[in-house]
Subunit: 248 residues, 2 copies
DNA sequence: CAGTTCCGTGTATGACATACACAGTTAACG
DNA sequence: CGTTAACTGTGTATGTCATACACGGAACTG
């Protein structure tokens, strides 16, 4: 298992994300840098959502004109990747909690979900995963540490981390959508009321029962905002536990 | 548990999706209808992806001008919801397979993933869930049937179906992104090669091991396109099995 | 010092979703 | 049955967006 000395050509965005993009030395001293651009973009996203992050808007925020941004980032997609990596910097402060792989993994999974909540605009990203950049790879590194001692092979470990992190994202995305729908106005109707309105007993006997049993009711305000995610995590952790037992 | 006689005001999109939007009777006979618009939009999406579905493009496909579409759908978001519902019509032919709740639920979960694959543009939808429209509610109805006999309460059943269907979507989304990245050109580099390039042993000991052990290698071409999804499903089904045992 | 590279600006382009006014068609109403 | 109202589709316009490209000036290189 020898490391190759050949340098692999990283995709352009990753070159930038790993600090490997050659920066020219001629020409005027830049008044603008990529870190300032990314920070401004993240601020706008935090304040107003990802849709508010246009190149013109970011440029204005850093005091330059729109087209100057393109001297520092190739395109908007690259800026989005940079933003995603920047927002994952909480990994630097994160520490696994617990004595068992299960409790450590749970703490990791909760941290994933909380990190997204702190930068909720991530749910609006056009891509499904963060770039293979320093911060997200550090999250994976820590996740692998959580799984030390399980006896699982590395491939399964990676798949498990992928399962959990993808679920954190989509759970946050669904919660965000639901909240946006609620924010639309006073005439919003909740899930159960809609079900009761549309599911006839003859055509949807199961859903009809569910609708009228109150089982689909949305959680009371003030409760655990992550209740749904915790349920899902328990299911997944139980399944992982089964996998761990089987590998022993 | 009496049904209320009060009609709840559905959100405007759902009124249309459930065929409850009042259609006026005065004025010229329409040359255009919402079904034609949706069908055209779905065709374009199937052929070229969701980004190709602009109002102008759809209008051209049905032989009308852009603004005429707005006589039939409120806005583009509504059209997207109509498309999502239309694409879920495979539920009409679907039948659960198996003698146990587990095998039935597995068949349901696979069908979810396959349905998305057939209309892969769904992964590019701006919203995280389909509308509460006839087809997606029918999928839920069938999913609840799969869980008959588990003894789970209705709330847990709904959460389980939500877990699986959301996972089908994000798994498809990640697979789509990966494929798009591959299609970018001959200079694309795979996941493992990137890991090997960027993860130094000192800083990322776990990922370094994983990268050089081959555990993160992408599946060979020609294998099961749903291998990752199946792994995830086994984990989730094992976890659900634990939940079922506990509820007995 | 001439040539090259690089930064930021200004201008332009094409694409997009959608507002709004107009003219003609059809139904409702008294 | 004539008038009014509702409705359809068109044409025009608007503002926003990402990004191409040319220009002038700053800074480096040989």
């Amino acid at each position: 298992m020898a490391e190759s000395d050949d340098q692999v050509a990283l995709p352009p965005s990753l070159e930038l994300l790993w600090g490997r993009r050659d920066v020219g030395r001629r020409g005027p001293k830049p008044g603008l840098d990529v870190d300032s651009i990314v920070a401004a973009a993240v601020d706008i996203a935090n304040a107003e959502g990802l849709a508010a992050v246009s190149m013109a808007r970011v440029a204005k925020a850093v005091g330059f004109t729109t087209m100057s941004l393109y001297r520092h980032v190739t395109n908007k997609d690259e800026l989005l990747q940079l933003m995603w990596n920047a927002s994952a910097d909480g990994v630097m402060e994160f520490e696994l909690e617990g004595d068992t792989w299960r409790s450590r993994l749970l703490s990791w999974a909760m941290a994933q979900r909380e990190a997204i909540t702190r930068n909720i605009w991530i749910v609006q990203m056009p891509m499904a995963t963060p770039p293979l950049a320093p911060n997200s790879l550090r999250w994976m590194e820590v996740g692998l540490e959580a799984l030390d001692g399980t006896g699982l092979d590395d491939g399964d470990k990676m798949r498990i981390l992928g399962l959990i992190s993808s679920h954190a994202l989509i759970d946050a995305r669904m919660a965000y959508d639901a909240q946006q729908a609620k924010g639309g106005g006073a005439d919003q109707v909740d899930y159960t009321a809609i079900l009761r309105e549309v599911v006839e007993e003859e055509r949807f006997p199961q859903l009809h029962r569910v609708a009228w049993s109150g089982a689909a009711d949305e959680p009371e305000p003030g409760g655990d905002p992550f209740a749904e995610y915790r349920f899902d995590l328990e299911v997944m952790l139980d399944g992982i536990e089964t996998l761990v037992e089987r590998s022993r």
